[in-house]
Symmetry: D2
Subunit: 317 residues, 4 copies
């Protein structure tokens, strides 16, 4: 990728990358390299680091900066890199954005500040102030489960008039919300609308959404790319078959253990089962113990997710 | 105050200090000095910086460090200083704690990480790991409205067995929860139980609670100290009269404007009305505009909160 | 319709009928007749009375019984009639079910009791006891917004083993939940899965759902039948066009006024604008005042929903 | 009690009576008689039937009418009887109120309709309409956990201007809310303010509240009367000792089992352990099985709640 600007809208699969860790404040550097190569081999459109799946809020700023450098260097402009700058502190968001720009990232991603509850007009004013300080274009990120705050459709529409805000990732798991956005943005086709729930990727793209930000694409990037492509091609039979594989990942790998953290724990554990990177989690979470790990590894095998020689998942075979 | 250790339990009024700001990343240094002197003149037991009222999550780490230094220097051990280290990142919590120790603070205060939802056993493991890295004793902080997570009474009891955890501030506004804690801790009288809702200070202390962490004590420290003392003395007539003054502050100064941010905005605005410090708020919030400000200043006057010459509020008169 | 049994699964559009009221405890009988004829002219699959859209919980039992009689008589077995029996009282649910059977209805529909919060095992035991007392087959109804209780996918699967429970209407607006059900029921193709959110009808049917229970079909039954049929035929272009019309109804007619009751008020108002029935609402709600009514009537006109001579909506033209 | 009117405000302990059941639709008549005598022997101020503790929403209307008759007859005007008329149906609320009047009850109690979510202005209009149809004075009932709706303090104040609304029972467990009401009603001392959470009875009365509606008073009426009287007398030592007994009941008898229904199940079970009435619960709940029952009976014994010969609990001894 040599061009300097992002397509508008951006289309395809964006991968919210897991952050491979060796310890509480140490990157698993070889794991990171392997993971990036595995993901890029799947044909994805962009790499999104320091999002929710990347456990960004749990990492030190030192580690976040190191990750930005390493990831951008490893990707080396083969695909655009997006960097999460969601923060409760305006100044730290701006700091991370500058670091991202410097390292060669092409956009930043931001959910609302998540300690204090800001109302929609407060949010809009905050966004106006923030974007004027950012060196890179911004994707909004609707993530009410973690932030407590919904970016209301009308707020997104108003925000889209701020120069520099180019799209939205919706992880609300609320398809009605996504359809409301699609309706509101029918006359602004350049504004990127991405779905964050992989269970909804098929219908989001079939109904005109531009793509998805899918955590499972850390594990099986090709699967999500194929599902995206089948939806673009309106090949309903392929969409259904691939959607079922995604649902199977969700109901197995992400559903081990009893806690809400099972998605993160299961995903990192599965990546470790296939030998890509460590399953160490940032506090307040901790990796699965043996019993759960054995179950995840069994699921990985049953789902045919063991890495083959080409570094890609087995979705083509 | 020359002794090196905190009383167990700690009793009295702890003031969750507002952070005076001149701009987005600049402390209002003269305002900070005036505010600290105003608060200490009220006879409070401890100063708690970088809590919710201090807008800590919204501040840069650079500013947080500067505030710790300035506040500790200004207080100069006249009362203990407590420092909030609540963070989504374990490592940053530890970093701030070390800075606090170095500057002369005597304890740290921590609510659960507030981006990811951790379940009670996950929280307990996190606390065990964290406390072993901390150079200062820790007060837990129950703040479900902002963190989404309740520290369940049994979790608090289990956590109290971790060496270094010495008390809890409860800002749940749930008096049944506080009574449950009192019952659970009846055989651990050294564990400090403080109430965070100023509307509940009277009954919390009457029923055996050790004190309160009251935002209004930025404005009228003497009022809260007198209410605390009346409750300790079981002087119900004084308790009722002082409690009514507190309720009046809550229903006026904290209730201007339509948003959930009215508490922070109203409190900082009132401090500005009486000439103590700037009303600049950290993003995502912004100070009241003229209309609301005029109303707050009028309330301040009607409530007799204008600073007198002695630097204290007028509660004694 | 002369057969005595329902198809398994039931496929198509089920209409959750509005209850036309002349006063607080009086049916608008001529309005009811016109409404039923209007709906049936649209080619729908079944009529569902006494659901949420029918304001059932707000009606007296006397009026509910009268409605059952009148509606069944008017329909006269041209389509199956389903009757809502959701109640906080087990005995009253059974009473209404017997009345429904007697009047000729073919199934009953039930959401969990909605005053006390029952946990999933309690719900399952309740369902076992209830179904054994019912004279008609039962559709479950997932409606967490109103009942506070989610029928978890595993609970639905367990309940499907109770003889007499034949399907589920999901009004959670959570498409992931619906996909989870589809996955769980892949080996039980006779269990009917209907979507309750009209904004999700297209994708629910495209992904294998059996149909929808769409409030808008009171107003424009043909529109929803055509959308259903397009989805069955996998005609994506028609699905998109019809889905957009549905979204338009939602963003206009259902979105007048500031309250959560705008759906009910808007729908009844629109039915009144086109001369079908009264817009009187049961307490605690009240019909729109002139300003909102004028707006709704304007939307009805703009959307081409004015009734034509054939008694059907204008979707075919 | 021969006078025809209620004191304003009403002061003391009101008992939200459990409904003794022999089966799903049958009153345990001898149990009901024993229970009423047990409660009245405790010196309580009023009996409140068909509230939340009375499982009213789960009972058939036929059974509710029978209960009203039997309870009023048994009480025979020794204390006022209040009847819950909370309903999703306006007409059924009015019907039950007329039955209550006819049987000799002196007031009715009403929480907001709890299926549809009504906003505050809608609620106020509903109350205006409803009260004009009621033959008895009305206590409002704030019960957000079950109804999803808070009666905001300003709404209560506005409602208090409706002729016939004479007080409020607050079961929100939110003491700040109760204090807000006390402040708002300081110039309307005739409006009765009762606390519904027994854990908060002491402080509610100490701070000027008029009394409590305490479920535990089914079991130990004298305990709650003594706590009320100690608070009125400002005897803080007695308040503390009696409050601790109440907290002990809450943490044992109401806390067996893992579900939110443990309060109801535990209370009815305890009444059965002491031989007062059956522990049969209305659907969707079911009585404790042997293991939990044995635990509750042990708690009853340890707490000294076994009925003595005088029919009262043992609080005096």
């Amino acid at each position: 990728m040599t061009e300097k600007t992002l397509p508008t809208p951006l289309r395809g699969i964006v991968v919210p990358m897991v952050t491979p860790l060796k310890g509480r404040d140490t990157i698993d550097a070889p794991g990171l390299e392997r993971l990036i190569e595995h993901i890029l081999a799947g044909g994805v459109q962009a790499l999104f680091i320091l999002g929710t799946t990347g456990e960004a809020p749990s990492l030190s700023y030192q580690l976040r900066r190191e990750l930005i450098e390493r990831a951008c260097a490893q990707v080396d402009r083969r695909v655009p890199v997006f960097v999460g700058i969601t923060d409760t502190s305006f100044v730290e968001s701006v700091n991370v954005a500058h670091k991202a720009k410097e390292a060669g990232a092409m956009a930043v991603v931001l959910a609302p500040p998540y300690y204090f509850f800001a109302e929609q007009p407060e949010l809009l004013e905050y966004l106006e102030h923030l974007v004027s300080e950012l060196p890179l274009p911004l994707f909004l990120y609707n993530m009410p489960l973690n932030t407590k705050i919904i970016l209301k459709p009308e707020t997104v529409l108003a925000a889209s008039n701020i120069e520099g805000i180019i799209g939205l990732k919706d992880s609300s798991a609320n398809m009605i919300y996504f359809h409301q956005l699609q309706m509101l943005f029918k006359d602004k086709p350049d504004f990127t609308l991405l779905i964050g729930s992989e269970e909804l990727l098929g219908e989001a793209v079939l109904s005109g959404g531009h793509g998805g930000v899918c955590g499972g694409a850390n594990l099986a990037p090709r699967l999500y790319v194929l599902l995206y492509e089948a939806a673009v091609a309106k090949d309903l039979i392929a969409v259904e078959a691939l959607h079922k594989k995604v649902m199977k990942i969700c109901s197995t790998i992400y559903s081990v253990g009893r806690y809400k953290s099972s998605y993160l724990k299961g995903l990192k554990c599965a990546l470790s089962c296939i030998g890509l990177c460590s399953d160490f989690l940032a506090e307040p979470f901790h990796r699965f113990r043996k019993e759960e790990r054995d179950l995840v590894c069994r699921y990985v095998q049953e789902l045919g997710l063991l890495k083959n020689k080409t570094g890609s998942d087995n979705q083509d075979s």
